[in-house]
């Protein structure tokens, strides 16, 4: 123990609540903008996602109104293009992903036994990026400049030649802005799940929802970077004429499709898996028995995660890919049905072997089974190349994707809404509207989309704004539209139902379903700190006596049963065993995330409106603000183990090697490396596949290759800095050396960049230009990180024990140095015209 002031045990549960509430609460009024608490931000994410769902639904109604009758003049083709593009974009990027992120942000700490997520300010930053990025899209739509090239933005239609306005830029920049929130959420969900569970919660005691979210977040780390890279490359083509996708200058439109679907297909499972996690949580409650096949489900979701990255080409079966490649992707597409089926049988088995009780959430679960299994079966049909070739780009595909996404996401989310609404509100539902709402939704949905299978099989193509009346599609389309409006009435009733519960619902018991998971072991609605005392688990976390644990918390049994130094404290644990190994101090309310998101928004708006002088200023502002973020972090002295209650003492997070900051950096580097691998894939793909590839190509100047040496020197210096610090010596010299060598590396790479002759003339040169930009950027960041660590060391925030800053520098400089080597290999290959 150290001389840290001993915590003052609160004398009563009420006193403890007051003390903790004072520390963790979000201020009222304008102070709400400074919120970083996961309860507040999770709900904001979900409410905003529901707002976007309403917007997307309204667009769907316009689509169905237009298609209800043949030769309709309701909206013209140009507006129709904007509407169907925005419908898909809003539902996928602004509703589905943020909705499950919001649920996870709100629910995961509670299910895991933590007081908040690992990086509350990043949660807030992600939320603001989501709000501002989504707003760009919606404002553009209202102004008549919405994206209009389909939600997957295929080139060359979305290239500058065929979409010359800013419509496509709105999509590329708005979505990339929004995706910041997805990446930040993925990182902090992974870190929270691995490091911030309740003591005693080993990995195999984790609630199954935790496993689902761990796998989903891992998929997001790998799945989103190809889309982000594709968007950057396409925006570079549109803004600066770098011809990555232009076949007349060595580019290839199919590269966009590969990058998009490398994201786009895993995305389906990224959306489905959290919903499946919800089902695996709710079904045991209503079956009144633990989930069958816990470990089988873990294996199944791991299998799904990997397989889902091996089937993206089934969206491209008709583009002219050799039969053997088609066969690989076809087999993988069919195979992914098996791990899906494992889960479905586990759920059915749980219900069959339990004592099921039926309530509103169960209605939607039954709806899920019916709708999703149909969608899965048509998915297997579409996995078969001959059938896919026939049904491609018809309404059959529209029907399939809606059965999968509405069945696999919307129905489980409605079940989740009814299941957890008492947790959000602390009130019981009135249910007077719930049952009719369900029937309107399920009947309306099937009327709308089942008939689309038929119109699709009759040859009706997607994305057409009108059709003639003599092809037999008339009555099917009319009924589809009728069903669509019926479904909308159902969703409206659900909305009214929610409002009714908030307004008229009676105060209810804290665990209305007799659930056996941790989120019900707290008052509802939950206090901002979740758990007054952090429990110690001795059993699997989805088979607990939540009521008894709630009583224990009231009686002060558990860890951190005190308020200490006005700090937001929670516990970190060993990743595998769940043994507590650190106290994590979380940052309190601040406006910094808002300011940083505004600066980020200025960067994106500068690009969108081609006011390019703003972008470097905004980028500098973002960097400066992130530096300010670090100011309150850390300590100027070593504290050693401090009391956490229950007779235990552990060090502060900054004093352990295995801390959340380092985990976050590893995850961020995984995102970065995936983006880079996608870029390298792009270069290789163009060299092998693109038409119009020149040979011989302009040669390469080797002077900038000096960066290879200086980069390695910087990495070596960073290692020496860490080693010196570990030996009790001052790391300043080596940190400054790392910064200087990184600056030299960046300069060498910038010279290389300037030496690329006319990058707009050919994709080969554009790719070289981009490789130099990537490597120079990383050398620049390495320099900034080394300088920042030197500044922190100078300020006394670094010691032999408190060495996180140095470890961050070491990891990044290693990456920046190593990243140059494959870049130079590709540069060499490109300079030789290809790989022949």
């Amino acid at each position: 123990m150290t001389d840290t002031p001993a915590p003052n045990p609160e004398t009563s549960p009420v006193a403890l609540h007051k003390a903790l509430d004072e520390i963790w609460k979000t201020p009222s009024g304008w102070g709400r903008l400074s919120a970083v608490n996961h309860n507040v931000l999770g709900k904001r994410f979900m409410v905003l996602a529901l707002l976007f769902f309403a917007i997307g639904g309204t667009l769907a109604m316009l689509i169905r109104a237009q298609l209800a009758t043949p030769n309709s003049a309701f909206i013209g083709p140009e507006l129709y293009n904007q509407i169907f593009t925005m419908h898909g974009t809003v539902m996928m990027f602004l509703f589905a992903i943020p909705m499950f992120e919001g649920l996870a942000i709100y629910m995961l700490p509670k299910l895991l036994g933590a007081r908040d997520l690992a990086f509350p300010r990043m949660t807030a930053y992600g939320y603001w990026c989501y709000l501002f990025g989504g707003s760009i899209l919606i404002v553009a739509m209202l102004a008549g400049y919405a994206p209009n090239a389909g939600w997957f933005m295929y080139t060359p239609l979305s290239s500058g030649t065929y979409t010359p306005g800013i419509n496509a830029d709105v999509w590329l920049l708005g979505i990339t802005f929004v995706e910041i929130s997805a990446v930040t959420a993925a990182i902090e969900l992974i870190v929270t799940i691995l490091k911030m569970r309740a003591p005693g919660m080993s990995l195999l005691r984790m609630p199954i929802f935790g496993w689902y979210m761990l796998v989903t977040a891992g998929m997001m780390l790998i799945g989103f970077p190809p889309l982000i890279l594709g968007s950057i490359l396409l925006e570079m083509e549109r803004a600066f004429d770098l011809p990555f996708f232009d076949p007349t200058r060595g580019g290839d439109p199919l590269l966009w499709q590969h990058l998009f679907w490398l994201f786009g297909h895993p995305e389906v499972y990224i959306i489905f898996l959290p919903a499946a996690g919800v089902l695996s949580t709710i079904i045991p409650t209503f079956a009144q028995r633990p989930l069958i096949g816990y470990r089988s489900i873990i294996v199944a979701i791991v299998a799904m995660a990997f397989l889902s990255f091996g089937l993206w080409v089934h969206h491209m079966f008709t583009v002219g890919i050799p039969h053997l490649a088609l066969a690989f992707f076809s087999a993988a597409s069919a195979l992914v049905a098996i791990p899906t089926a494992v889960q479905i049988f586990a759920w059915i088995g749980t219900l069959a072997s339990g004592r099921p009780k039926f309530d509103i959430p169960m209605l939607y679960i039954v709806g899920f089974f019916v709708v999703f299994v149909c969608g899965g079966l048509t998915g297997v049909m579409l996995a078969m190349v001959p059938f896919n070739s026939q049904a491609h780009d018809t309404y059959f595909v529209v029907a399939h994707l809606h059965y999968v996404l509405v069945g696999g996401f919307v129905f489980p989310m409605l079940a989740a809404l009814y299941y957890w609404l008492p947790h959000f509100t602390g009130r019981t539902s009135l249910y007077s509207l719930s049952v009719p709402a369900f029937w309107l939704i399920i009947i309306g949905f099937n009327l709308t989309f089942f008939l689309m299978h038929l119109t699709g099989l009759m040859g009706m193509p997607r994305r057409i704004s009108s059709y003639p009346s003599n092809w037999g599609w008339d009555w099917l389309n009319l009924l589809s539209s009728f069903g669509g409006f019926l479904m909308t009435m159902g969703f409206t009733l659900v909305l009214l139902d929610i409002v009714m519960q908030f307004r008229f619902g009676k105060r209810g018991a804290r665990n209305p379903w007799n659930a056996r998971t941790l989120e019900w072991a707290m008052p509802t609605p939950p206090p901002p700190y979740n758990f007054a005392t952090i429990p110690h688990l001795t059993a699997r976390a989805d088979d607990l006596d939540a009521d008894a644990m709630g009583r224990d918390a009231v009686n002060g049994v558990g860890y951190l049963a005190f308020a200490r130094e006005d700090r937001q404290e929670t516990l970190g644990v060993d990743m595998m065993t769940g043994e507590p190994d650190q106290v994590i101090v979380l940052p309190q309310t601040t406006y910094l995330p808002l300011w940083t998101a505004l600066a980020t928004g200025a960067f994106f708006l500068g690009l969108l409106f081609k006011v390019y002088w703003i972008t470097p200023i905004a980028a500098l502002a973002v960097v400066a603000l992130f530096v300010v973020w670090t100011r309150p972090l850390g300590s100027r002295r070593d504290l050693g183990p401090i009391d956490i209650g229950m007779g235990r003492a552990v060090p502060m997070d900054g004093e352990v090697v295995d801390n959340v900051t380092l985990w976050a950096q590893r995850c961020a580097l995984a995102v970065n490396a995936t983006l880079y691998a996608s870029l390298l894939f792009g270069g290789l793909y163009l060299a092998v596949v693109a038409p119009g590839w020149t040979n011989p190509a302009p040669g390469i100047d080797w002077l900038p290759a000096i960066g290879l040496v200086t980069g390695l020197g910087a990495a070596l210096a960073a290692h020496r800095a860490a080693a010196s610090n570990g030996a009790g010596q001052c790391p300043m010299f080596w940190l400054l050396a790392a910064a200087g060598l990184s600056a030299l590396t960046m300069a060498a790479l910038l010279i290389g960049l300037a030496m690329v002759p006319s990058p707009t003339s050919h994709a080969n040169l554009a790719m070289r230009f981009t490789l130099f930009v990537y490597c120079a950027l990383h050398a620049g960041v390495a320099m900034l990180l080394a300088l920042h660590a030197a500044w922190r060391a100078h300020g006394g925030y670094v010691s032999t024990v408190r060495a996180t800053d140095l470890r961050i520098v070491r990891l990044w400089t290693d990456y920046a140095a190593l990243a140059q080597w494959p870049a130079w290999a590709l540069l060499f290959m490109l300079a030789n015209g290809g790989i022949s």
């Binding site: 470990r295 294996v299 299998a303 995660a305 490649a325 690989f328 195979l335 595998m576 596949v689």
Partner: protein
């Protein structure tokens, strides 16, 4: 710690490497205009090599004593990845590679 994670993930990591390698070999063989018989031989050889590697990993996992629960789950994951490798790349035996 890493052994348990590795056990759970190694099978499908190998499957992913196999996917990239075999898909890449298919594309490069066509680009370099390999003789079709040689091309097929390379593809089938790669398929068999990865299948054998996975079989070996599975055998090692099964023979391991004092397995943790996560390592036990890892056996099933590797078994799944072995099945996926056999099924997904089996078309290398008979489907035309470059048409």
């Amino acid at each position: 710690m890493s052994a348990s994670w590795g056990s759970l993930l190694i099978g499908f990591v190998i499957w992913s490497v196999a996917f990239v390698a075999i898909y890449g070999l298919q594309a490069l063989g066509c680009y370099w205009s390999w003789d079709p018989a040689l091309h097929r031989l390379v593809l089938v050889g790669a398929w068999l090599a990865f299948t054998a590697a996975l079989g070996l990993v599975l055998l090692m996992q099964i023979r391991q004593t004092n397995r943790t629960a996560l390592q036990q789950a890892g056996i099933w994951a590797t078994l799944g990845s072995l099945g996926a490798t056999i099924v997904v790349f089996a078309p290398a035996l008979f489907v035309s590679a470059c048409v």
